[in-house]
Structure formats: structure tokens, C-alpha cells
Amino acid sequence: MTDTVGIVIVSHSADIAKGTADMVRQMVGSEVKVAFCGGNSDGGLGTNVPLIIDAINSAWSSRGVAILVDLGGAETNSEMAVEMLEPERQDFVVVCNAPIVEGAVMAATESAGGSSLAQVKAVAEELSAG
């Protein structure tokens, strides 16, 4: 199997992150690596950089990783997590400006078809353009 773009879901809520990942898996099967994280290090609502880095590593693919986020802090922390990666990996990870559930499903569907990271991001972001 050729590698497909990995999908990471970052929500402030662990329940939303898991629920979104469940929906993605049901709709696109296991062709695409999906990882998710949500909540802060105290178990409350929030996002946290070490968990995002772990999720990126677990969804890692030679084709790259697309991150879907919910609110502002998830985006800021995801961007920070990308910058904490080794420099040679940073260009292979993008944060998509898209609604988290629809974006994750669209991105994963596009990825399952073998599309590039740029195509996956573009398809997810079309949802925000309308």
C-alpha cells in the first residue's frame, strides 16, 4: 500500500476529538492513519503541545500530515507543535483552516484517494471558502 496523508484531529475536548476520529474511520476505513487529541494536561478542556506532537508522530506518513482544529487555541498550539518538530519534518505538516468535523472527513476522503498534502488541505479548506 502506498502511503497516504495522515490526519490529526485537535479539539479542546477529548470527546469531540475522539468522536470526530470515529466518524472519519467509519467513512474512510483504515486506509488513512488518523490520530486525535483533546484536553489539557489536567484532564480539563484545552489543548496541549506534547499531546499534539504525539498525535502527529502516530499519524506520521511520508506523504505528510494534515491537522484539523476547532477553536483558536487549538490552532495556535498546533502551529507551535509543528515548529517543535525536527526542521526537516516541519514542511510535511499543515494546519487546515476548516471546520473540524467536516474538514477531517473531507481531508481523510481526499487522502484515501492518494492525493498530495496540498490537495488534502485545499479540499478541507474549500469548506471555509463558501
Partner: protein, 207 residues
């Protein structure tokens, strides 16, 4: 004034302790216009910094600032983790190029402020921590070398934090409230004020 390792250590300790002591106030400000986690997030980050204080203060200034930044990024969570983390990471990077204190202090601080602005895609006047950090930077430049520098920095930090109260937020969670965000001091501006004032108080104690 030169920044001896033991002075640096005491400044970091007092800044972290002041933020921890302010956590209830920061949380109540954040409950008014945000998601109510700024106090606990900052407390968690500052406790992590205190836990590593010996290792941090054993490093040269640039590496120490970067270590503080990385610790905050990894522990604070929320948007304030990357924002404060970016400030210290960039300040540390600048300190590796501009190592003369106090002469280079404004340049080092400037790099931190620029990083916060880039990370948050935010400017002055948007009811954020930048509304304290930018006036503090301007004072560091205009009052550089003057005897009352510390007093002026302390005063401007307090004034600038208060000036965020009537502002309407256009960035961050508070922006969801629109006009209703006016009337409360911004929690990030307040935590920046607490940090700046703690460092000022610590430096005054050294004189």
C-alpha cells in the same frame, strides 16, 4: 547593572511566584470574557518553570530564556502557552546575538514582542497581551539608560493593562463576545503586567 546568574534566578522565581499568586484574579478576568482557564494554565506553566529553575539558571541567558519558553509551550496549554512560549523562545534567540545587558534589553524584548504578534496574528489595540508588551517595549527604548527606567516601566505596564478594559476584542476567544468584551481588563494583558512588574520589583531589590 549586569545580570548575574543568581539575580536572573531570583527574577524568574519572583515572576513565576507572582503569576501563581495572581492565578485567581487571572481566572476571574478570563471567566468574564474568555474561557476561564488563563489563571490555571499560567499557574501550571509557572510551577513547571519553578520546578526546573536550577537547570534553567545554570544556563547562559539565551539558553535559559529558550528553556523557559519551551517549558511554557509544553505545559501552559491554551493560546497563552504558545504566545508566552514564543516570546521567551524568540527573546532567547535574540539574546544569543545581543548579549550586552542592559544595553540590548530593548532589542531582546522587541524580538519577543514581534514573535507574540506573529504567533497571534495580532497588533496593538486588539485587547491582548500586546497592549501591555508594546507600551513596555516603547518605554524600554525611550527611557533607556535613565535613572527612573524601572519606575516608568512599572507604571506603563499598569496603565496599559487598565487601558485594555474599554477595548473591544477582535482576537482570541473574547472576540466572540464583540461589544460585550468591553468593560473588562484583558486577562493576557493582566498576566503580562504581573510578569513585567515582578521583574521590575526584583530588579529594584537588587539596586
Amino acid at each position: 547593572m549586569s545580570l548575574q546568574p543568581e539575580i536572573f534566578k531570583s527574577l524568574v522565581r519572583s515572576a513565576a511566584e507572582q503569576v501563581i499568586a495572581s492565578a485567581p484574579e487571572l481566572t476571574s478576568l478570563d471567566q468574564a470574557i474568555g474561557d476561564g482557564d488563563h489563571g490555571t494554565n499560567m499557574k501550571r506553566g509557572c510551577e513547571a518553570v519553578l520546578g526546573k529553575l536550577d537547570a534553567i539558571s545554570a544556563e547562559p541567558l539565551d539558553a535559559a530564556l529558550k528553556m523557559i519558553g519551551k517549558t511554557l509551550v509544553m505545559t501552559v496549554g491554551g493560546a497563552s502557552g504558545p504566545l508566552y512560549g514564543s516570546f521567551f523562545l524568540a527573546a532567547g534567540e535574540a539574546a544569543s546575538r545581543h548579549a550586552q545587558l542592559p544595553g540590548d534589553l530593548a532589542d531582546i524584548f522587541d524580538s519577543g514582542v514581534t514573535a507574540v504578534s506573529a504567533r497571534g496574528r495580532s497588533q496593538a489595540g486588539e485587547k491582548t497581551m500586546l497592549d501591555v508588551l508594546i507600551p513596555v517595549l516603547e518605554t524600554l527604548r525611550t527611557a533607556a539608560g535613565q535613572a527612573d527606567l524601572i519606575d516608568r516601566v512599572r507604571a506603563i505596564a499598569a496603565e496599559a493593562a487598565e487601558r485594555t478594559a474599554p477595548m473591544q476584542a477582535t482576537k482570541g476567544r473574547a472576540s466572540f463576545l464583540g461589544e460585550r468584551s468591553a468593560g473588562h481588563v484583558d486577562p493576557g494583558a493582566r498576566s503580562s503586567c504581573v510578569l513585567v512588574q515582578a521583574v521590575c520589583a526584583g530588579l529594584e531589590g537588587q539596586q
